[in-house]
């Protein structure tokens, strides 16, 4: 019972400090290539994966382009230079042969996912979520394959897709995020080792949530996965992505690319709960999360919705975007980003309105605590042909403490007089008055803060699938612990 009337932690500064529960290392033999980056390394990756020629060619083109690029430093983030020659670009758990079922997966790996609360076996039996688990660089298991196949849905690792569906891969790979897009996307194109691939055929409503779970395990390894989702005409899919990594003192690089393509009347919902290791309270270690995510509403009335809850990583740069090309297409972005300790998050979205009557909604909730730095960066562009397009942006920051910071940098570029853009931003804190009111009603300060923080994020949580919303809420509480008292 809290006997202390004015707890020293009455200021919101002191509350941070729960162990990162996903921070263990799995002892498993891995097959890695030497650190460093060269054309030879890339040939080796491609060879290990037995890729067709078009893939190697694409990788090499990307690599040659990457050599001409400079690492960007425009985001509101400070970090020491990354030595790209010290990174291991390919690491895979050693597997002897091709797996036919989960029973053949290394039990150590299955235990890893169980420890993380994602029991692949359990998933297969009970829940209605199909999981593709990516461990370091490669996909280790995909559940529910057969059931999905009955509907004609392809859900597999990227490597398998390259082998089994090369035409689809060749048609759509890089069509939304070309390798020339940016420094990290280009690096990814050159070295990416695996990821998830998903194709929903015409008119099919995917009967379950599809999910990829990313885990970085090996030390000094970069993770460069690539996800490609194609929703054919009239189809619907909801996709979940979760991420964790062990606690390590050095920073690890995660430079993923996600491409979504929605054709006429297709709907894609992509949700992320990102809990990469954020570093310790002094800012040592943690994942650099430099990710390119973009969806293309290629067809009319297509809809792409990004929902993200970001509580992890030392540094996050991430702008899940939607290109609204088809007339009447819809883009949505719902985000909660929390930074505590010395975390830096620079995140937001781009809504590029090209088609007529395209609509977009942006709801961004940033929470900064400790020495956390939270930046919203967004672009809403109304192209010349975007007649009667609409955007509404709501961008709120919640500040907890005297050393955190919140920045809001939206950009609006409008070239169409029939289009309408609205942007609102507010900055709030939890006041001592609110805290006292709750405490007077018998609610303990931590519970009161959780309640208010969850209230602040409610608009975003309600966009998440139910199980994920609960998980997100818990994650937020754990990540905030110690921030307030």
């Amino acid at each position: 019972m809290l006997e202390n009337k004015t707890p020293e932690s009455s200021t919101i500064d002191q509350w941070v400090n729960t162990e990162y529960t996903a921070g263990f290392v799995t002892e498993i033999e891995s097959d890695a290539i030497p650190a460093g980056l060269s054309e030879d390394h890339i040939r080796l990756i491609s060879e290990k994966k037995g890729e067709p020629a078009f893939m190697l060619e694409w990788r090499l083109k990307a690599y040659r382009h990457w050599l001409t690029l400079k690492e960007p430093h425009w985001a509101e983030a400070d970090y020491p230079p990354i030595d790209y020659q010290k990174i291991v670009y390919y690491s895979a758990p050693k597997v002897q042969k091709k797996l036919n079922s989960l029973d053949e997966v290394d039990p150590e790996l299955l235990r890893t996912y169980e420890k993380l609360g994602i029991s692949l076996k359990e998933q297969e039996r009970l829940s209605n979520v199909a999981v593709d688990a990516v461990f370091d660089s490669v996909s280790v298991a995909t559940t529910f394959k057969e059931r999905l196949a009955k509907e004609g849905i392809i859900f597999c690792s990227f490597s398998e897709a390259v082998q089994n569906h090369p035409a689809l891969v060749q048609q759509y790979l890089g069509s939304v995020v070309p390798y020339t897009d940016n420094f990290f996307a280009c690096l990814n194109a050159a070295v990416f080792s695996d990821g998830s691939f998903c194709y929903i055929p015409k008119g099919v409503r995917c009967p379950m949530e599809l999910s990829t779970y990313f885990r970085i395990n090996a030390a000094m390894t970069g993770q460069f996965e690539r996800t490609l989702i194609i929703a054919d005409e009239g189809s619907t899919v909801s996709y979940l992505e979760g991420c964790t990594a062990p606690m390590r003192d050095e920073n690890q690089l995660h430079a993923a690319v996600v491409e979504l393509v929605a054709l006429n009347d297709a709907k894609i919902r992509y949700a992320t709960v990102q809990n990469w290791y954020p570093g310790d309270e002094n800012g040592v270690g943690g994942i650099y999360n430099f990710v390119t995510k973009r969806g293309l509403c290629q067809g009319q009335r297509a809809k792409i919705a990004w929902t993200q809850v970001e509580t992890g990583s030392a540094i996050t740069w991430k702008y899940p975007s939607v290109v609204l090309q088809g007339d009447d297409s819809v883009g949505e972005f719902y985000s909660v980003a929390l930074t505590n300790h010395h975390q830096q998050a620079d995140t937001g979205t781009k809504m590029i309105h090209l088609g007529k009557r395209t609509r977009s909604t942006i709801v961004s909730k940033g929470i900064s605590a400790g020495h956390g730095k939270n930046t919203y960066r967004g672009l809403v562009k109304m192209g010349k042909r975007a007649d009667n397009a609409r955007n509404h942006t709501q961008c709120d920051s919640l500040l907890l403490g005297s050393t955190c910071s919140a920045n809001t940098f939206p950009v609006i570029e409008a070239k169409n007089a029939t289009a309408m853009v609205e942007h609102e931003a507010t900055t709030a804190k939890i006041s001592e008055d609110q805290l006292f009111y709750c405490r007077q009603r018998g609610i303990e300060p931590e519970d009161a803060i959780h309640m208010m923080v969850n209230g602040f994020c409610k608009q975003v949580f309600k966009e998440l699938p139910m199980e994920f919303a609960v998980e997100a809420q818990k994650l937020l509480e754990v990540s905030l612990e110690g921030a307030v008292g």
């Binding site: 008055d433 009111y437 009603r441 018998g442 609610i443 309640m451």
Partner: protein, 259 residues
């Protein structure tokens, strides 16, 4: 000492400061179980400070004197402990909490108290049943449950919401800080009805008010006048009428003559 015979609240020469500024300068007050006391007084006399000190507000420091509540010294209690021990403060300006629904807040509060009293938490169904009954009694629209706590509430809605919380939490000592201010006569009657419904032999109520008006509907056992941080006059319910007729200045003059 037999606790049942001791007064519920005994305040002895209480001095308190906020941001090092002295506000209470020797308050003495004894409230017995089942009694209703009214505290009146001009603006800035320390009425709200007294209420906040009793509720354990961390910004208010007790520099001298003591508060004994139900036999305990409360000076080190956190606000939530005061609440768990049955002290309820009805706020003069209830604060808005955006994003947190009224229902969620009320249930969190009620279950926090139940937990300390060794009771099982109420589930959503039972909670709603009890709450809706009490809301009907106060003439509150049920839509107020789904709205954020006090956000965009009218003055009357906020005050009724305070009374609703009091009815749910069933405190032993309720301190109502200017609950009557900003209410029209119909709302005032409903609020009074709520307070009267709660009166019983073991529950005590302190009404802080500016006006006689409220006391027409909730009849106090005692009336005290607080001025410059001290209780300068105490009397029965007739005192309120004298104050209404003659104003507070009469007191200071009277004091002069007495002294």
């Amino acid at each position: 000492m037999n606790r049942s015979q001791a007064p519920l609240l005994h305040i002895e020469s209480l001095f308190a400061t906020v941001q090092e500024k002295p506000i209470l300068k020797g308050v003495d007050l004894t409230v017995g179980a089942g009694q209703v006391h009214a505290i009146m007084g001009p603006n800035g006399s320390g009425k709200t400070t007294l209420a906040k000190v009793l509720a354990g507000h961390p910004d208010y420091q007790i520099t001298e004197g003591s508060i004994r509540y139900n036999g305990h010294d409360t000076s080190t209690w956190s606000p939530e402990k005061c609440a768990w021990q049955g002290i309820f403060l009805g706020f003069q300006y209830p604060v808005a909490i955006p994003g947190v629904s009224n229902a969620q807040f009320l249930r969190a509060s009620l279950n926090a108290l139940r937990k300390r009293q060794g009771q099982q938490p109420l589930d959503a169904v039972d909670f709603l049943k009890i709450t809706k009954e009490k809301m009907a009694m106060l003439g509150m629209a049920e839509s107020l449950l789904t709205r954020s706590v006090n956000e965009g509430f009218s003055g009357g809605e906020k005050k009724r919401n305070e009374i609703l919380q009091m009815l749910l939490l069933e405190p032993r000592l309720a301190i109502l800080d200017e609950t009557d201010s900003g209410l029209d006569i119909d709302a005032l009657k409903i609020v009074a009805q709520g307070v009267n419904a709660l009166r019983n032999a073991s529950r005590s109520i302190i009404l802080i008010t500016h006006y006689q008006r409220l006391l027409d509907y909730i009849e106090p056992d005692y009336i005290h006048v607080l001025s410059e941080g001290k209780i300068v006059h105490s009397g029965d319910k007739l005192l309120a009428q004298t104050l209404e007729a003659k104003g507070y200045s009469w007191l200071s003059e009277a004091q002069h003559v007495d002294g």
